[in-house]
């Protein structure tokens, strides 16, 4: 399923138990379902509102989280 980035923010002041910087975002799928995601900071320069990608469930320090992976093939 494809998810589209509605908005995102790079957090420079992590909330414990996080201890390093990360990106959070809101994504939406074709069925207009929305959810929170985290995004690896290595993608920061690739992101913009409307970027599409997939989400994967991964373990975070405070429980399961959604990790958004942008589809780099669709980014110019």
């Amino acid at each position: 399923m494809t998810w589209v980035l509605i908005s995102y923010s790079e957090i420079k002041m992590p909330l414990p138990p996080y201890c390093s910087e990360y990106i959070i975002g809101i994504v939406e799928n074709e069925a207009a379902q929305r959810c929170m995601v985290q995004i690896d900071q290595k993608y920061v320069k690739e992101l913009s509102v409307g970027t599409s990608g997939e989400i994967k469930c991964v373990d975070g320090p405070a429980g399961e989280i959604n990790r958004f992976v942008p589809d780099l093939s669709k980014i110019k």
Binding site: S7, P14, L15, Y22, M36, V49, A62, I65
Partner: protein
């Protein structure tokens, strides 16, 4: 509505050495002393407060009863940063019920003794659980709104910076403001990023403080003052707690609904408002609320800022007190502090920050990322 604010009290916002009980007492005493009243004339008291997590003190109604040395009906109200607005609404309803003639409403928070990481964590408890699990802090929720507002409407970091500059300038003339420092657009843009695109100077500070207002029905009000300020309308709305649960993150429907209720109650509209205190916890919030309150069309907040129309004596003065951004933001006190400023403006008691000929004012108090909103409208003329 035949309810008037007859007196106010306000501690200086910032880092206070007083404990939370003494902060409340100081604001309450100012409000009572302002009209030469004794606590015995107060029928009921409401306390607005967000969290005992900051200073470790629960059971604030009993704390205040001890400080005042009285037995009274005292209730604590919590709804994140909108606690003050909601406490005001409860006091209005209490008086309208006919059971009470006078109500004292005091907002308070004591935050500065808590380490900043802990403060951020306590504040985050007002967000949705999934947001917290993903490491979302409140600046980030407002940053998400800002990023999308930039995308949809062309608002920029410079527009947000101009709001911070305006509110710091206004706070220079407010004796109870936390910050007395003029800043420039460059200062804001060069301050460190907290959650992109929001920077340190886009964020309201951690503050201690208390504010109080004494409300009376019209019959009693005339016994205390010749300068009553009437509550003309008050609206309240709650929305979904998670920002991601909302259809559009560039608007706060709770603000729109609360404003519609308040305006309808007094048959006024946004063009009737001379001065407003609105909830600029982050600079983007001031733009979104200006639009949602109907002061301009959606997306045109940036133009009002560019044209200086929200500065003191502009088309509509917004945050002459300095707002949360520069006056300070002790969470539970904020909604009442907004009312104190509007009452003082309508009584022409604001000195160098006075809005000329202000007759009608509005307060917009918001909780969380916009999930709770209380909008109240005041006038020095009763219609």
């Amino acid at each position: 509505m035949e309810i008037a604010v007859v007196s106010t009290g306000h501690t200086k916002f910032g880092n206070a050495s007083a404990d939370i009980g003494d902060l409340m007492l100081s604001a309450c005493k100012q409000a009572l002393d302002g009209v030469g009243a004794e606590i015995s004339i107060v029928d009921v008291i409401y306390i607005a407060n967000f969290s005992s997590g900051f200073c470790g003190q629960c059971h604030l109604p009993a704390v205040l009863a001890s400080k005042l040395g009285v037995n009274k009906e005292i209730t604590r109200i919590e709804s994140a940063c909108a606690a003050g607005g909601l406490a005001l609404k409860e006091a209005v309803l209490a008086i309208l019920s006919g059971l009470y003639k006078t109500a004292l409403v005091v907002g308070v928070e004591k935050m500065s003794e808590t380490p900043i990481e802990e403060t951020t964590g306590i504040l985050a408890r007002a967000a949705e659980k999934t947001e917290i699990r993903h490491g979302t802090i409140f600046p980030a929720l407002y940053a998400l709104m800002a990023q999308r507002h930039f995308h949809d409407y062309g608002t920029t970091e410079e527009h947000l910076a101009k709001i911070a500059v305006k509110n710091h300038k206004n706070a220079l003339n407010n004796p109870v403001a936390q910050f007395k420092k003029e800043i420039t657009v460059e200062d804001v843009l060069n301050s460190r990023v907290i959650a992109s695109p929001l920077k340190l100077f886009d964020c309201s500070p951690v503050s201690d403080g208390a504010a109080a207002v004494l409300l009376c029905n019209e019959e009693v009000a005339s016994q205390f003052t010749d300068l009553p300020v009437y509550i003309m309308g008050i609206g309240h709305d709650s929305d979904r707690i998670g920002l991601f649960e909302r259809e559009n993150i560039t608007t706060m429907p709770a603000v729109t609904h609360a404003a519609q209720k308040a305006f309808k109650m007094c048959n006024l509209n946004p063009r009737d408002i001379d001065v407003a205190e609105i909830h600029d916890c982050f600079t983007i919030a001031e733009i979104i609320e200006m639009e949602d309150l109907g002061f301009c069309a959606k997306g045109l907040g940036k133009e009002m800022i560019d044209e200086g129309r929200t500065e003191i004596n502009g088309d509509i003065t917004i945050n002459p007190s300095g707002g949360l951004k520069a006056k300070g933001h002790p969470i539970g006190a904020t909604g009442i502090s907004q009312v104190v400023e509007i009452v003082k403006q309508l009584r022409c008691e604001c000195g160098a920050r006075q809005v000329a000929n202000a007759e009608t004012g509005l307060c917009c108090n918001v909780g969380g990322s916009g999930a709770t909103a209380v909008v109240s409208i005041f006038s020095r003329r009763y219609k």
